[in-house]
Symmetry: C2
Subunit: 349 residues, 2 copies
């Protein structure tokens, strides 16, 4: 399945895509990172039937989960239901999602020589289920809803490879980076090539745009980002960016925002650690931005949710190119009615 030419694709005229191009919009588009997740009872019901990784690898179910979520929430975009880590399996990493601990990699990269066993992603068909999910999600949604493909950024994926899972401070990752600089660059270059192919394949399968998640790179300062990360994120994004809008998201350190923009992305994702206006200024107003309500605000009362949503909109100041989102994913336990309240508040403007 291949994408129809841009001019012929009605999704290109959707609210979301126009905002990505900083064209005028009737209202701010809104979608939420991890909008289909454990906070939704429908999602939990499906997960009682099927494990997380199995769900990711079953395109029919993955598509169903996202289509139902988009319909229930009334959001303006569908990110495919998938995960950052399955891409690492055909690269030789032995991945498991355990019930309590989240992702575990049984053969982590710990020494410089370990990088040699991280294989090039020779064939994206090894993660073909993701492209099938893109196509099935697209097929089940109206033309007003673009489909977002995604991948983890080289730093974030390398972090999982090295830590053997998630981490509080990414200490082993940074130790590896400082101690084994050549091997580090080799590892990130391998990952960047895989990510590049993977993003392009998702566009070819029918996604209108892609998002690169550098979820954990905020543990670095700007000098380290420039030296150890930026060239690889740029390489991961370049080919997709020639074909479609790219959202480049990082969390954890507002001082990196100008460098994220330098690495690439027509839309920069901003977390809640900076107010949206200052964040946008750091990115440059000539780019679109996505963000940035703190997901924990969704645990407050509905009035607070509405007020804080309006505050983010006020910081955007009606400039073209704002996509409303949280600063990170929706958390488990978030009250569904507050998510609906947020979306209603964005739509009312």
């Amino acid at each position: 399945m291949t994408t129809p030419p841009v001019a012929a694709d009605p999704r290109q005229q959707s609210l979301m895509m126009r905002a990505c191009r900083r064209e005028p919009v009737e209202r701010t588009p809104v979608w939420l990172m991890r909008q289909a997740g454990r906070y939704l009872p429908e999602y939990r019901a499906i997960r009682e039937q099927v494990g997380f990784l199995e769900l990711c690898k079953t395109p029919r179910l993955s598509a169903e989960v996202m289509i139902a979520t988009v319909e229930r929430l009334g959001v303006d975009a569908a990110i495919i239901f998938s995960d950052l880590l399955p891409l690492l399996e055909p690269m030789g990493l032995d991945l498991e999602f355990t019930a309590g601990e989240g992702p575990v990699i049984h053969n982590p990269v710990r020494e410089a020589a370990d990088v040699q066993r991280v294989r090039e992603l020779a064939d994206v068909d090894r993660v073909g289920f993701v492209m099938d999910t893109v196509a099935a999600t697209r097929a089940g949604l109206p033309d007003s809803i673009p489909v977002i493909g995604f991948a983890g950024a080289p730093f974030t994926l390398a972090g999982y490879c090295i830590e053997a899972g998630t981490s509080k401070a990414w200490t082993l990752t940074k130790q590896f980076m400082y101690r084994h600089e050549a091997a580090w660059h080799d590892l990130l270059a391998r990952i960047a090539r895989a990510v590049s192919r993977y993003l392009v394949a998702q566009l070819d399968a029918g996604a209108q745009l892609v998002q690169l998640f550098d979820s954990w790179v905020g543990c670095l300062g700007p000098d380290d980002y420039r030296r150890y990360v930026l060239p690889h994120s740029r390489a991961a994004l370049a080919e997709a960016a020639r074909r479609a809008p790219v959202i480049h998201f990082a969390s954890g350190n507002p001082a990196l925002l100008p460098l994220l923009a330098e690495a690439g992305g027509s839309v920069i994702g901003i977390d809640w650690r900076i107010d949206l206006e200052r964040g946008w200024e750091a990115v440059g107003f000539e780019r679109a931005v996505q963000g940035n309500l703190d997901p924990i605000v969704l645990f407050a009362d509905r009035q607070t949710v509405r007020q804080r949503t309006r505050e983010v909109l006020a910081r955007a100041g009606g400039r073209p190119g704002h996509i409303f989102n949280l600063g990170h994913g929706v958390l488990p336990g978030t009250p569904v009615e507050n998510v609906l309240e947020l979306i209603a508040a964005v739509k009312e403007g």
Copy 2:
């Protein structure tokens, strides 16, 4: 025991104190957060004899640990060996340090009504062992070495009270803050009054300056910091700041730096997430700064440690008022020879 008048105290002319006042210095002073810690074999040997909390409550041993560390490392200041959390015990929190998990609070603050059982610190004698540690540390060190007292900041201490220990994302803390705003302010005001008395008591016991650690406040954005935290940090610092230099340190979000300065502190502690020059600019060059090497750099080879140390000094640009430190505490497992290399590199300039 009370402090001699400033003019009569030779420690006031030390390198460290002159840098705090932004006076000219022959070279940049250096000390390291958690300079006496698990990375040192001498410290580990003592800890085989005595538990962490017991060590904190035994002034003779606490002082010995720090005095030996200052002598071994050749640093320019002694922070007392203590911890952020013992202050919470006389306030009614049931604190334990477990071997594997770190601090645990057995009666956390979870509901708004729980704040009522967080008692005012009626009498600093309840943590009198800390004042004895100040006096004993001072007595064992030459006049060139000032003694730094310290306390946790209201947000960070409230975070431990609510999470029942440390946390990755401080989710419960922020949920409490957004849901129970009046109770939140009540809790932080109680803590701020205790911290204020505690810092002043440490100065009265002979400390030349104090540091306020807001180690985890970087999980907030600037608007939230201003609304939920700033007034309490200001209250915690005000009285000590009338008497002595105060170092105000936070980690995790460079966008907070101007607000930290607004809350108070003659020296602002900067973590590694921003380069020192930009961080200093955000604070204002009319204040002194402390920082900001990433502690994980100390796991690299000695040449890298030396080079990165010099890069921080270069960012300081010879301006008056730079105190060299890490961006956070020395990590367990850090090679001692790299700590010595860092200190030598600062001294060579």
